[in-house]
């Protein structure tokens, strides 16, 4: 496990009341930094939009790139586990529409919610009125969101999607590009201030060149060091299992070896029928095998594309989600399990014996499904099918009440991490 984020912040805060104090101190620094930058003054904020004073752009992007290079540097050297860091989920269209509305509110009122608080705290009456307006707007949203509830919750949802995922770039390269873009914007902003705000750039501190160079150097270091690979993260994973009433910590490989996460087909069937659980089945076999036969409800995701399942899996916040990966036997499924566990996905299990075991239990009597006549290789499909019927076999969707199977239950729900959600969530 990486040192950061601190363990206490992964649990409900009430378990460690001092965590509230930490958040209070962070808030204090937040308000203080906003105030000394001039963000309590609406005229300064609005000047951004008339190109006279680009303080908003400089402070905002200055803060974003500073925090970004430090975050990804910490991740690169292994002290921060980035998969535990809260990344706001992408709901593209609600974000776009909401963003434009926010821009309109910004130029109308001269603040955003955070800056209006700081402004009100320094007795600015316009800041106070804006903050009151914010409270009214929040209330108004809560009362009207029902009208477009579905759109708001399901439209263009991409989960924990990062720019690295979108542009298919290594993290370091993306960080470097954002730094270069920010520096270009700073330069452009200064030119605008010179033209529209009649600012004398020769009086600007020379030290800012050193700051720019430092940002580029750190970004380059992040490119060179690279982010921890899945294997490196996997080696650090510690899993907790309850064994005979005692909580025991294991390395991930020990959990595999002691077969704590391989669930019997009978347990999977019962879990699927259990209304308290939400079971997500990931079938990591080839498309051909998947088309021949798969369990009803299993999503097809080939092993080499398992990474693309992360944005969705990492943004599932419910406590009752169980992920079961499966291949024909266990080899590919175990690979997928290692990958998901390294990415800190909780409650991931493997279908014991894979699809071959599933069919051996539920499909023995089904007409058409026959064991392969010659022995097959490891993790290959051990049955032949009359046609590629996918999940239209009876064995693809057995009746849970018709089967009473003996198995050792393996699924133990690990409590998910304390709800995070954005600062604005």
């Amino acid at each position: 496990m990486s040192l950061f984020p601190l363990e206490a912040f992964l649990r409900p805060l009430a378990e460690n009341p001092w965590t509230y104090l930490v958040f209070g101190l962070i808030g204090f620094g937040f308000g203080f930094a906003l105030e000394i930058s001039g963000f309590g003054n609406s005229k300064k904020l609005a000047a951004q939009f008339y190109f006279k004073d680009l303080t908003v752009l400089k402070v905002m992007f200055g803060a974003i790139v500073t925090a970004m290079v430090l975050i990804f540097l910490s991740s690169a050297i292994g002290i921060l586990d980035f998969s535990l860091v809260y990344v706001p989920e992408t709901y593209l269209w609600p974000g776009i529409v909401g963003g434009v509305i926010m821009g309109v509110g910004f130029i109308t009122g001269g603040f955003c919610p955070g800056t209006s608080l700081v402004s009100a705290a320094t007795f600015k009456v316009d800041g106070l009125f804006f903050a009151l307006g914010v409270l009214f707007g929040i209330w108004g949203f809560g009362e009207t969101v029902d009208l477009f509830w579905n759109w708001w919750n399901t439209n263009s949802y991409y989960g924990r999607l990062t720019l690295m995922d979108v542009f298919q770039l290594p993290t370091g390269v993306m960080v470097l590009l954002v730094v270069l873009m920010a520096l270009f914007m700073f330069w452009g902003g200064e030119q605008l201030e010179r033209i529209f705000g009649k600012r004398d750039l020769t009086k600007e501190p020379r030290l800012r060149y050193a700051g720019a160079a430092a940002l580029v150097l750190v970004a380059l270091a992040i490119v060179v060091i690279g982010q921890p690979t899945s294997a490196e993260k996997y080696a650090r994973v510690v899993l907790t299992r309850e064994v005979e009433g005692e909580k025991v910590q294991f390395s991930a490989e020990a959990v595999l070896e002691d077969r704590y996460v391989q669930v019997h087909p009978g347990e999977l069937l019962d879990s699927l029928a259990d209304p308290r659980l939400r079971v997500i089945m990931l079938d990591v076999r080839s498309e051909a095998d998947y088309n021949l036969f798969h369990i009803r409800g299993a999503q097809h995701i080939p092993l080499d594309e398992i990474a693309s399942s992360l944005p969705q899996l990492q943004s599932l916040h419910a406590d009752n989600v169980v992920v079961v990966v499966m291949s024909n036997d266990e080899t590919a499924a175990t690979q997928a399990w290692r990958y998901l566990v390294a990415a800190n996905i909780p409650n991931v299990y493997i279908l014991e014996g894979g699809i071959n075991h599933w069919i051996a239990v539920f499909g023995v009597d089904e007409v058409g499904i026959r064991p392969a006549s010659t022995p097959v290789a490891d993790d290959a499909l051990g049955y032949t099918f009359p046609a590629a019927l996918g999940d239209r076999y009876e064995a693809a969707d057995p009746d849970p009440h018709a089967w009473k199977l003996d198995y050792t239950p393996k699924i133990q729900l690990q409590r998910r991490r304390a709800p995070s959600g954005g600062g604005c969530g």
Binding site: L6, L13, T19, G24, G27, G29, F30, G31, L34, I36, S37, G38, N41, A46, K58, M60, A63, I64, V65, A67, L70, V87, P88, T90, Y91, P94, G95, G99, V100, I101, M102, G103, F106, I107, G109, P113, G114, T115, L117, T122, K124, V125, D126, F129, F130, G133, V134, F136, G137, I138, G140, F141, G142, V145, M164, V175, G197, G421, C424, G425
Partner: protein, 185 residues
């Protein structure tokens, strides 16, 4: 550019002389450092509207008991026995108020005043501030986060949605800025 240099004789509460704002790059680096520490220690970024949202939920629960339990959106904040204030965003908001206050105090900027363009009345300015706040907050809830929680925090961890949102905030503001130029200048 004169915004950084307040009038020499301006004073705040307790006659503390008003000091100029820090250089924007210094302010940005400092804010970035706070943001980084927030992510490093707690895995969460910064936020403002979320904490206020919870405040509203508590008030609503007190004024109209039962209403929250029928509104799905409020339900997840404060439904049933849940205490809407038991969330990290609440101490952050309280801390931000204090931080702004202390900085305003020591820098001589604690002053009852209305910042506005030279051509508008106080009344118009305050009305527009309220209206702008309401519009902004509505958009922020729709986008699941305000400038702090989404643009700043999501921007620093390279969330794709946050970057799209950030561009839209600037686009929306710039698109309307021309029509409001008399209001601010």
């Amino acid at each position: 550019m004169a915004v950084d240099v307040p009038q020499t004789e301006s004073r705040g509460l307790f006659k503390i002389r008003t000091k100029p704002y820090v250089h924007p790059y210094v302010g940005g680096a400092l804010l970035g450092l706070v943001l980084f520490l927030a992510f490093l220690l707690t895995r969460n970024g910064l936020g403002a509207s979320g904490g206020l949202n919870r405040l509203i939920a508590v008030v609503e629960d007190a004024v109209v008991p039962g209403h929250i339990d029928q509104t799905p959106y409020l339900l997840k904040l404060a439904g049933g026995e849940k205490n809407a204030l038991d969330d990290w965003s609440v101490p952050v908001v309280i801390g931000a108020l204090l931080g702004g206050f202390v900085s305003g105090l020591i820098n001589g900027r604690l002053k009852v005043e209305i910042n506005k363009g030279p051509r508008v009345s106080n009344r118009t300015r305050l009305g527009m501030a309220f209206l702008g706040g309401a519009i902004m907050a509505y958009g922020a809830r729709m986008a699941r986060g305000c400038t702090s929680g989404q643009a700043l925090s999501g921007g620093a961890v390279l969330s794709a949605g946050s970057w799209a949102l950030m561009m839209c905030i600037f686009a929306g503001a710039y698109a309307l800025a021309y029509f409001l130029r008399k209001f601010w200048n």
